[in-house]
């Protein structure tokens, strides 16, 4: 994983998020004045849109959007900005998976890039959220950050988002699993995902530290 923070000029926070397979540009603007219908009297409103690598957004992107929103709303310190709005736009540049069958790599990249962009924008968060994808092969081996082919060959695929508190994965914010798996597989996946989230977190801190040092 590598991320280029403050990638765009005209927004408050942005990030170009790269994994070996997936690329997403995220932009965050906020807190800004909302449209009347978006305004929430006690909280920060969140406007989120996900755009696909090719073509126009479909129900598939609405679904990714919904999952990202569930994660972001639970880490935003929304009470700090009543009657205001935060806009998040996530543009997928490269899906890295066959789009008619999967959405897990994009979902993970969208969550991570959105968090980077929010941190860059300086919007208050109560915790960090980091997502990772795990594919479980037919022989039971779990691979974090699978490739296109590994996804196709997998028995089940899982996207897990952890809430990071005090520098370590604290609890599960979201898990989205498809395929064929058992109870033991779930525990195994959570284990692998946690290790992967720890690595991500270390990289995340490095990136943010480098950014803070420049400023």
């Amino acid at each position: 994983m590598n991320a280029e923070i403050s990638y765009l000029d005209n927004v408050d926070g942005s990030c170009l998020y790269n994994t070996p397979h997936t690329r997403v540009v995220a932009s965050a603007t906020g807190p800004v004045e909302p449209k009347a219908r978006q305004e929430l009297p006690t909280q920060l409103a969140l406007e989120l849109s996900v755009r696909p690598a090719a073509g126009v957004a479909t129900t598939r992107e609405v679904r990714i959007q919904d999952s990202v929103r569930a994660v972001i709303t639970s880490i935003l310190a929304a009470y700090k900005y009543p009657r205001q709005l935060c806009q998040l736009t996530l543009q997928v540049l490269q899906a890295g998976e066959s789009e008619e069958l999967f959405h897990c790599l994009e979902l993970a990249a969208c969550v991570n890039s959105a968090v980077f962009a929010l941190v860059d924008a300086g919007v208050a968060l109560t915790a960090l959220a980091l997502a990772t994808t795990v594919a479980l092969a037919h022989d039971g081996t779990a691979t974090a950050e699978p490739s296109r082919q590994q996804l196709m060959d997998a028995r089940s695929v899982h996207t897990v988002v952890f809430r990071i508190v005090d520098g370590k994965p604290e609890d599960i914010l979201s898990m989205d699993s498809h395929g064929d798996f058992s109870e033991a597989d779930i525990l195994k996946v959570l284990d692998v995902a946690e290790t992967s989230a720890k690595q991500l977190n270390a990289q995340f801190r490095e990136t943010v530290l480098a950014r803070v040092n420049i400023v």
Binding site: V71, D171, H178, D180, S182
Partner: protein, 397 residues
Amino acid sequence: MSTEEEATVEVHPVSFPPEILARISPELSLQRHLSLGFRPSLRGFEEFRDVSVDVGTLSRYHQLQDPSSTKEVGTDNHVLGSCVLREGDVYVVTKITGGIIEDVTMSNEDIDEEEDAELLELTEDHSDITKYTSVYPVVEVERGRMGACTDEEMITSQKLFDTLQHAKILPKSSLKVKPGVRITNDDGTVEIIYPDSANSDEVMSSFKINKKWSYVLYARIEVFGRTGPVFDLCWNSLMYALKSVQLPKAFIDERATDLKMTVRTRGRNAIIRETYNLLCDPNDSTPIRLAEKNISFASTYGLIDLDPEADIANLEEDADGDEAMVDEEVKTVLLADIEGEAEESSIKSNITIVSNADGRFKRLSIVGGGAKITPALLAKSIALSKQRTADLAGKLI
């Protein structure tokens, strides 16, 4: 003493009947109910709503299957499989319709393999995801007004599509069209010969059909009287409906099987194209073949932390003093089958499980954010989902 009494302002506590409190403060109302050990719907924490299903009755083949009925009502619709599911006060009507498309991407290799591969696919465990397909669902949650589809409808439809694809329930081979041929005999009688009917070999061998077709299935799912999340209801309804699907047999008229047509473009370039007029048999149909062991059912769970301040037992103790304010550990409860506005809006953490009768999972969705999801609670919901699946699978005829 008497002057003092006159000086005090009398404050009447405002109180609301339970149903009004539930509207103005759903969270408090829910917490009060939970502290008494039941939910606003008066169900227990781990109690599901009862499900009743009516499978296949809206389908065009329904009356035909019932010889006692003389009326052939309903045979003019295009529904291939259906289910009316009732859970509590919610009705979910699922109608599956179909269409036929020409397979244009098939390689020669596929055509050769096809014959023997079919049976293998259904029994094979580790089959490729590309060998399976899904139905195209449209979910409509009726709210008594018209308009563009809501996010919830789009998300539920997409989830149904993805889950069905990954659950590997519907093999592509089951949707292959095996066209028959309509022949006119010497005595003028018209007969349709299908590849699977007796003495078909000699007829079929004389017609060589080069093209391949597949059925595509569409599911229209209407939800009436929504009271909570609808994914599990829609999924279960879709499973029952899919089970009842009958695919119409299709045939080509013998005159059209080797029809060649000359297409002229720009006057000079002539291309020979084959055209087929594929027709569906109005009466004859075959039941769809599904990967039975992967048929699975969904259930939803909510997790909520009990608020000690809303606890009615503490409330009564509070009257004596502050001794009730002992810091206890936060207790999280698991509520099965979320229903009602209070539960839906107050419960931030939820789990959706789709599992089959063997206890294998096809989909697991966890949304955190509210109560912390501990492994113990996850294990509990998994155990409940197995019971629920066994119960729902029992309703399958």
